[in-house]
């Protein structure tokens, strides 16, 4: 049941950001976000200045997790695509390799059909990048520098 840890490296991060940016343009969306299953925001693009993206990411992951629970009750493998239709804003989410959630927020400037089409294509591109990233996970090259952190340092953080 243990999940594989996802460490994001520069090369793949740049590739992922390019896919996310392209999806924003191609789908004529307002916002595109890539989120992991725990709600950690991995990449974002679009009109995010006045948006609580951290909250949106966490709630999206919660939503996908809950939908996965519904799928289990119905003996489905999962629901790869979700659509939320609002008065002004709509959301499409797509599960990438069952590890990441690609989310598109869009309005009347585009159509659900176009978004869905582009979303799936972007999802496929991300799956390829993710595969490369998974192969890289066990390679060294990232020093966390956490060895030198003392309990006192942590106490001081709280005393600020």
């Amino acid at each position: 049941m243990a999940e594989q840890q996802l460490v994001m490296y520069e090369e793949e991060f740049v590739q992922i950001q390019a896919v996310v940016d392209r999806l924003l343009r191609d789908a004529m969306a307002k916002v595109v976000m890539l989120v992991d299953m725990n709600g950690q925001l991995i990449a974002q693009s679009g009109e995010t200045d006045h948006l609580d993206v951290v909250g949106l990411a966490v709630l999206t992951a919660g939503n996908v997790a809950a939908t996965g629970g519904i799928a289990r009750i119905l003996r489905e493998n999962g629901f790869a695509i979700q659509f939320h239709e609002g008065e002004k804003a709509n959301i499409y989410t797509f599960l990438v390799s069952n590890r990441l959630i690609l989310e598109v927020v869009f309005d009347a400037r585009t159509s659900p059909g176009l978004v869905r089409l582009r979303l799936k294509k972007a999802g496929e591109a991300l799956a390829v990048i993710l595969e490369a990233l998974s192969r890289k996970q066990n390679q060294p090259g990232f020093d966390l520098h956490f060895e030198g952190i003392t309990d006192e340092d942590i106490d001081n953080l709280f005393n600020d």
Binding site: V7, D36, Q40, L59, F146, I149
Partner: protein, 195 residues
């Protein structure tokens, strides 16, 4: 497992507050979020039912600034405590880097404490972990109320593994930060262990 972005040098941990229904998990989170001044904080999200019980989870993002050259963020979650929310509890607990178990010190809540504790134990076993080797802190909350069990009694019930524990009054903030701080230490120690 923490999320690490090598390029932006960010590390993000998930911490979950669990325990029986109405034991004070959300109160802990609210207090920490309101009084957080060690760094930036995002908006707190609460998903309560009409009776103020947590339906799915509460969430508070806290930035610590830099630790060891990395921008460090802790994302705090609570789970719903009621027995029948087991399914959503498991969803929120998934991927946790550390857990605070909040026990309700009042005598009538002992069965609920015990039930929640065993569910947590089962959850960790499902991950191939134990209460002893997972970053876990226990908090005995509501110490200000009458008819509360002694700390020894509570330890016997919900801290058999002898992890760090604290007597607290979450509504006034007593030992709320101390509990969280102890968990942060364990979570970072766990990361050092993995190296």
């Amino acid at each position: 497992m923490p999320h690490i972005n090598v390029m932006t040098r960010e590390i993000s941990f998930k911490v979950v507050y669990c325990g029986p229904g109405l034991c004070g998990k959300t109160t802990n989170l609210r207090y920490i979020h309101e009084h957080w001044n060690a760094g930036h904080k995002g908006k707190m999200i609460e998903l309560p039912t009409e009776t103020e019980r947590t339906l799915f989870f509460d969430f508070a993002p806290l930035d610590f600034g830099e630790i060891g050259g990395l921008k460090t963020r802790f994302q705090l979650f609570t789970v719903p405590g009621q027995v029948f929310y087991r399914e959503t509890r498991q969803l929120v607990l998934k991927g946790a880097d550390g857990i605070v178990f909040v026990a309700d010190s009042q005598y009538p809540r002992m069965d609920s404490n015990e039930e929640a504790y065993y569910e947590l134990k089962e959850h960790l076993q499902g991950l191939g972990r134990t209460l002893e080797d997972f970053p876990l802190v226990v908090q005995y909350n509501k110490r200000d109320l009458p008819a509360v069990a002694t700390v020894e009694e509570l330890r016997e019930l919900v801290n058999k593994s002898g992890v760090p524990d604290f007597e607290a009054v979450a509504s006034t903030g007593q030992n709320v930060f101390e509990t969280f701080k102890a968990l942060v230490k364990l979570v970072l120690a766990e990361l050092r262990k993995k190296k």
